[in-house]
Symmetry: C2
Subunit: 156 residues, 2 copies
């Protein structure tokens, strides 16, 4: 059972180009990891998004710094979605993450590609360029959340 889980995780890791990076002892560790990586990603992306939306003053250096961290974080969460990681800790992943795995991966790839472009845009110091990139990332976040993230956390 454990071997099967780890094999599935390893396969998922290959899919996200992280190689042997994904090695979780238990499903709950994988869930906690992916939730944590999303939290850090959202925090740093969100700081630049706030600037793009006029909710925070534009600070070119902060935009670049946060954009670089967001771009680094973007690929990480997906190593935590291996088979068997639907339960083990309260989470919001819908069953479709695994039953429609190819589409989930396509949407995850879209987000990562948009986040790479956002990372580049965040370095330009040009708020209009950054606004456009933030918008493009936002669409990819929403597309995946609409289909694969539940409103409520699971019981376990």
């Amino acid at each position: 059972m454990k071997k099967t889980f780890l094999a599935a995780v390893a396969a998922a890791a290959c899919a996200t180009s992280l190689g042997a990076a994904a090695q979780f002892q238990k499903p709950e560790d994988a869930i906690k990891y992916r939730q944590s990586a999303f939290t850090v990603l959202a925090a740093h992306f969100g700081r630049v998004a706030a600037m793009a939306q006029g909710k925070a003053p534009f600070d070119a250096k902060a935009a670049a710094d946060n954009g670089a961290i967001a771009a680094t974080m973007a690929p990480l969460p997906f190593a935590g979605f291996g088979a068997g990681t639907d339960k083990g800790r309260p989470n919001r992943a819908k069953p479709e993450v695994w039953s429609k795995a190819a589409d989930f991966k396509a949407k995850a790839d879209d987000m990562q590609a948009a986040m790479v472009k956002f990372g580049e845009a965040s370095k330009t110091g040009n708020l209009d360029t950054i606004k456009a990139a933030v918008g493009d990332v936002g669409k990819t976040c929403k597309a995946c959340h609409d289909d694969y993230r539940a409103e409520q956390y699971s019981a376990n």
Copy 2:
């Protein structure tokens, strides 16, 4: 109150050289952020530590990849320890994080410095070099945890 909290967070951010990167709406956001950053950091450092300890087969590329992510993550959690972030979400930070702030910062700096060296070591493909760097990082983790991390989570 909120303004004071944000000012304290901004000050903490300067202390960790992250500039305007630290902008949390609520103390619970800061706590969740720092816990998440530590979780991601520990996952990636842990994969290389497992190789160093003979618990996982040595994989030079995986060591380098995980070492690079760990080095990137290392400075992040400390932006989440601003004044007023002792409560808001269950956490294990002892009151001494704030009452002995200079020593806490010194220990956090020690960890970050060790993690930079570990990131470099992880690229060498030399297991003995990596083992030494893992050991050095581990000492800095333990030194801080011994003094500043409680055994039990707080109630809120």
